[in-house]
């Protein structure tokens, strides 16, 4: 994470995020999901380390 967060901070973030996503995760589910969510955030951090110009666009030519 760009700004390191404790597990407690992350869990406090996951609860409202899951509510917005329509899942409303229980405390037990948040506990179970935390390690995986941290893995996703670590992957996102590594992706963010790639220097892209402001002109970069997310369109991938999938139909060649």
């Amino acid at each position: 994470m760009a700004v390191p967060m404790t597990d407690a901070e992350l869990k406090a973030l996951m609860k409202p995020l899951s509510r917005v996503a329509g899942l409303d995760l229980s405390d037990e589910r948040v506990d179970r999901d935390l390690a995986t969510y941290k893995g996703h955030l670590a992957a996102i951090d590594r992706i963010k380390a790639v220097d892209l110009p402001i002109e970069a666009e997310p369109f991938v030519p999938l139909k060649r």
Partner: protein, 508 residues
């Protein structure tokens, strides 16, 4: 080095197709589109034993069926009997469509006897991963969420195979919702590797690969989002092709990730794989991402050979952590290609390749979470408690749009950069997997997910067996630029013809 088309073709003509192991059937090997014309009439037995039929190639079976020397019913019955006898050990099938298979086989036999031969898939038994919709036959994706799901239509791939006269024998095993490799549990028991029943067959197209290796199917299809055709094909010693994104319709396939999912052919030989792709590839109005590009006859590429072919390989540091036997087999494979006249050079991969598995992880799980939203909000408690699927999806639901789009921007950069790399290459070779089935591997670059991210085609085929532990298959991956499946088949056939790895069978 630039090679003219004339040089390339001239070199290729010197390399014959491998003689099939079943020459004793008395039929010379021909391309699937060079079969003698069939008139009609009754089937004349060629005296095959059931065990011969277990491992008969599609190419050989098609020639015999067309000549009415092998009955589709006899072939189907032989495989069903073998499934009865052996699938308790292998666990390759979730559903065996016995009655439907026999009905289809009888119909094929009748049509062929009446002189209405449809082509090389007519009367050929096949299996599909249990993510493929099949009219009236449950499609479970090995999850309790879908155990009662009976589709009202066929996946386009299934419909095309049925239209070609092929005989659906069953729906093959996978991990729950195609997440991960075999061994994680789900609604049904895991598949096992026929080369060592205590080991994983890989995943997620586990059952298709295991069934082919065990001689329970003639051909099969699988799905590949993170390497799910190539991983089990490598572990089970069979041939698996992840075609170019858009080459094969995804319509009617249970989704993991729309932009990463591919459907492709699995087989025991390269020629069979090309024949199967001929049938399942092509535009589909029901899949907006399917390509309108015309489908060539892939079997015509099989005789091209590799003389002058520009082969790229990764630089040595990319192989840190790879199993010793895998690297030995890879080096020996490169020697085969050099001997056949290919030009092998090390190439640099784009810097973005270092994070491409991270990109794949975020794109995959964000798209999967979106697909699963209705399940997660209405039947979350039905996901298997023995797997991590629900956990993965719930955490994926928390990824923001900005984070997903950041991954897509890096993905777009990678595709552009890799396209540039392929301007100087015809094919790119890597090991199929970093280690044999079930062996630990801590590697920087597994070379699998990158081809889902960019959508370029990639095939694996057997290129050796491990010595430590003894007797597990090892695979070679051949990738190429978009829609260059013909180049891949040419290279794969040349390698297969020069080696005998594909002729070995497991003893279980």
């Amino acid at each position: 080095m630039n090679v003219s088309r004339r040089d390339f073709l001239a070199g290729s003509l010197a390399i014959p197709l491998a003689q099939p192991p079943s020459q004793s059937y008395g039929e010379p090997r021909r391309s699937s589109r060079e079969q003698p014309s069939s008139g009609g009439g009754a089937f004349r037995p060629a005296n095959q034993k059931p065990d011969d039929l277990a491992f008969i190639s599609l190419t050989d079976a098609a020639a015999l069926i067309k000549a009415r020397r092998l009955s589709p019913v006899e072939l189907t019955q032989a495989l069903l009997a073998r499934i009865d006898r052996l699938d308790g050990k292998v666990g390759a099938f979730i559903t065996v469509t016995r009655e439907e298979a026999l009905r289809s086989a009888r119909a094929a036999e009748g049509e062929i006897a009446a002189g209405r031969y449809r082509g090389p898939l007519h009367g050929i038994p096949f299996g599909v991963k249990d993510t493929h919709y099949t009219t009236g036959v449950r499609t479970t994706a090995n999850t309790p969420v879908l155990t009662d799901f009976v589709p009202a239509f066929d996946a386009t791939v299934v419909a095309r195979l049925r239209r070609a006269g092929a005989v659906l024998v069953g729906k093959t095993s996978l991990p729950e919702f195609s997440f991960g490799s075999a061994g994680g549990g789900g609604a049904f028991p895991d598949a096992h590797n026929p080369w060592n029943l205590a080991r994983t067959p890989g995943g997620s197209s586990s059952g298709s690969a295991a069934a082919l290796a065990a001689g329970l199917l003639t051909v099969a299809t699988g799905g590949d989002t993170s390497g799910s055709i190539r991983n089990p094909a490598t572990f089970c010693g069979v041939v698996g092709m992840k075609p170019t994104y858009g080459r094969v319709s995804r319509h009617g396939i249970v989704v993991i990730s729309w932009s990463l999912d591919h459907v492709g052919p699995m087989s025991r030989t390269v020629a069979d794989n090309a024949t199967l792709l001929n049938v399942i590839a092509g535009p589909d109005p029901a899949d907006d991402t399917s390509s309108d590009r015309a489908v060539p006859d892939y079997t015509r590429a099989l005789r091209r050979g590799v003389r002058g072919l520009r082969v790229g390989i990764p630089k040595p540091p990319q192989f840190d952590g790879y199993h010793r036997d895998v690297m030995r087999a890879f080096e020996e494979s490169l020697a085969v290609f050099r001997k056949l006249g290919a030009i092998v050079n090390e190439v640099d991969l784009p810097p973005t390749s270092g994070v491409i598995d991270d990109v794949q992880q975020i794109v995959r799980i964000a798209e999967a979470a979106s697909y699963h939203e209705p399940f997660l909000t209405t039947k979350a408690d039905r996901y298997a408690t023995t797997t991590t699927v629900r956990r993965d999806l719930e955490s994926g639901s928390l990824i923001t749009a900005v984070q997903y789009l950041r991954a897509q921007k890096v993905r777009a950069r990678f595709v552009k950069d890799l396209t540039d790399v392929f301007r100087t290459l015809d094919v790119f070779l890597t090991p199929g997997m970093p280690a044999p089935a079930g062996e630990p591997a801590d590697v920087k670059q597994p070379f699998r997910r990158m081809f889902n991210v960019c959508g370029f085609p990639a095939l694996v085929l057997p290129n050796g067996f491990s010595t430590t532990p003894v007797g597990l298959p090892i695979g070679l991956q051949i990738a190429a630029k978009p829609f260059a499946e013909e180049t891949i088949y040419a290279a794969a056939q040349a390698f297969e013809s020069a080696t005998e790895w594909h002729t070995r069978r497991p003893n279980f």
